[in-house]
Amino acid sequence: MNTLKKIISRLRVQAYLDFMWMTRDSKLCLINIVSDIILNLAGVAAVFLLATRFEGIGIWSRDQIVFMLGYAALVRGIMDMGFSYNVLHISRRIGRGQMDHVLIQPQPVWMAFLTEGFMPFSGIWAFLTGVGITAWAILQLNLTLTFYWGLLFALHLFTSCIIVLAFSFLWGSLAFWAPLAAEEISSRAVNFMYQLKSFPLDGLGPYVLLSMLTVLPVGFVAWYPARQLLGLETTGIWHTTAVAMILSLVAFVAFKKGMKHYEQTGSQRYLGWGHRN
């Protein structure tokens, strides 16, 4: 209970910081909102245009593709909103020798990362774009929204986010051993997922598809969950959850090992500019 209270109070102060940052200047505030919406729309535009031109892709109708794109935009929106300040791009903090800042705070490292990147005001625009696209697709598809379906949707969304985060932390842990070379590895890992998340993977060969659902689990960011939610896949309802659990366990072990290494070696490298940027 005490832990929950602490998490809430930390989220509240981060929200306050974000609100103060967002409202520092009316022009910058507007530019931030518009650019976030444009960027998120641009991220799904190519696949949307293809689906419109060919009235769908493979077994997917145009509206089903839009649903998947909306889901993918939601995942990105949640990551933007919840894990900014280089929490998602964790290798930057590790590689720049900035873990020291976290270690001198009287809170568990996990709590710092769970709360420090919360930006509900400046980060929400990508999320809202995702809400808009998804809602439009649901209307077009005439989906019957039951409580169970809603629960399934929330579970898949949550586990997809966990997969992105765990994937970033797993690769990002390399920065404990190679701070300079791996400083940007989390960004690369996340960008890899973001770039491929909008594509339906149905046409891929079995081995490539298997790799996209195991070692490079980009299929679980949007494609596989959307198939489940749209009824294109009738089995394997827990696959996304299972992959999220396994991947987060592996990432946890790797990060913990990295932290042990950091405690022994520290960092010989420190980049001084605002360490959360």
Binding site: V13, L17, W21, D100, I104, Q105, P106, Y270, R276
Partner: protein
């Protein structure tokens, strides 16, 4: 009665205790020859760097201790060991009766750390916002927070830039804000790793004054590293000098000066432009008829030098002053280097 911490170390008067603490880092060595590429990749030579070697040190509560040493001597490693960032390779570190690594969270709540070239401030936020953040993360009760805020704002003069963005502050303002932020949870020990690096003389003077006042008023234990020896001498009663991983000197500044010779400068003004020959002093330089000598006051009393000068020429004017502590320390470092070379 003193409480007993881990391993029976007193939690009463001793704030910091290091027992046989060693810290070793491992560095890959690479040959520049292409024929060694495979060896460099798969079986590299590993060099052991002994940053600290069996260091023993105790610091009492309420002390201000200067921790000095040349670059790479092990100063920052020690501060990191004491602030829960690094674990020792061997030995025991106890601060306030706690193990900085095992008891990290309760421990860091009771200490404050400032690394000179780093900042805890939120870069794109007004200074005030970082203080609010600090209140929440450190769980500072509202009344204590308000009282401390008044105290640090007043003492450090934060009011003039409290609502400015952190990234727009000058180095001196940023350091003052960081110091204030660090104090908000009323730490019992402060670790200041080069806190005045890059700041101007006025800001430096204010920061030193502040640390002194804090120590006097609140009894805070301070461990301070710096390359500026004058600054350390102004502030600390005790200096611990580290050289290549071990404690080379631990005592007060007066003992440091006398232990390594009481170096002084003597300036004599004479009617002639040629300098007199003074046994027991070394001629340094002359500007017209003003001649400067260096000497060790512990070996040669000043009266003896003046007497010798008066036997050779008329002495028009005399000035004498101690060698700056920087020169003393530089001589000590040089001496250690020479000893190692021999």
């Amino acid at each position: 009665m003193n409480k007993q911490g881990h391993n029976g170390i007193s939690d009463g008067d001793i704030a910091i205790s290091l027992r046989d603490v060693s810290k070793t880092f491992y560095q890959r060595q690479r040959s520049e020859k292409t024929r060694d590429v495979l060896k460099n990749m798969f079986r590299p030579n590993i060099k052991e760097i002994h940053a600290l070697k069996n260091v023993n040190m105790e610091i009492n509560r309420g002390e201000i201790v200067a921790y000095a040493g040349a670059n790479g001597a092990g100063k920052s490693t020690t501060v990191k060991l004491l602030s829960s960032v690094l674990a020792p390779t061997s030995g025991t570190v106890r601060c306030l009766g706690l193990d900085p690594m095992k008891d990290r969270m309760p421990y860091v709540k009771r200490i404050g750390v400032v690394f000179g070239q780093r900042t805890e401030l939120w870069w794109d936020q007004p200074v005030a916002t970082s203080f609010e953040w600090k209140r929440v993360i450190w769980d500072i009760p509202e009344d204590r927070y308000e009282a401390m805020l008044d105290f640090v704002k007043d003492l450090l003069g934060l009011g003039e830039f409290f609502n400015s963005l952190a990234r727009q502050l000058s180095l001196g303002q940023k350091m003052r804000a960081d110091l204030g932020l660090m104090l908000m949870h009323e730490p019992e020990i402060l670790f200041l790793d080069e806190p005045t690096i890059g700041v101007d003389v006025l800001a430096k003077r204010n920061i030193l004054k502040f640390i002194k006042e804090l120590n006097r008023e609140k009894g805070v234990t301070v461990m301070l590293t710096s390359h500026d020896m004058d600054e350390l001498e102004q502030l600390a009663g005790r200096i611990v000098m580290i050289d290549h991983g071990h404690i080379a000197f631990d005592g007060d500044f007066r003992r440091l000066r006398s232990g390594f010779g009481d170096h002084r400068y003597l300036m004599l003004e004479t009617p002639q432009e040629s300098a007199p020959e003074l046994t027991g002093a070394t001629w340094s330089h002359s500007e017209g008829n003003r001649h400067t000598f260096t000497f060790d006051a512990a070996q040669t009393p000043i009266a003896m030098l003046l007497d010798r000068a008066a036997q050779q020429t008329q002495v028009v004017d005399v000035e004498t002053h101690r060698a700056p502590i920087d020169d003393v320390i530089a001589d000590i470092y040089e001496g250690w280097e020479n000893e190692r070379a021999d």
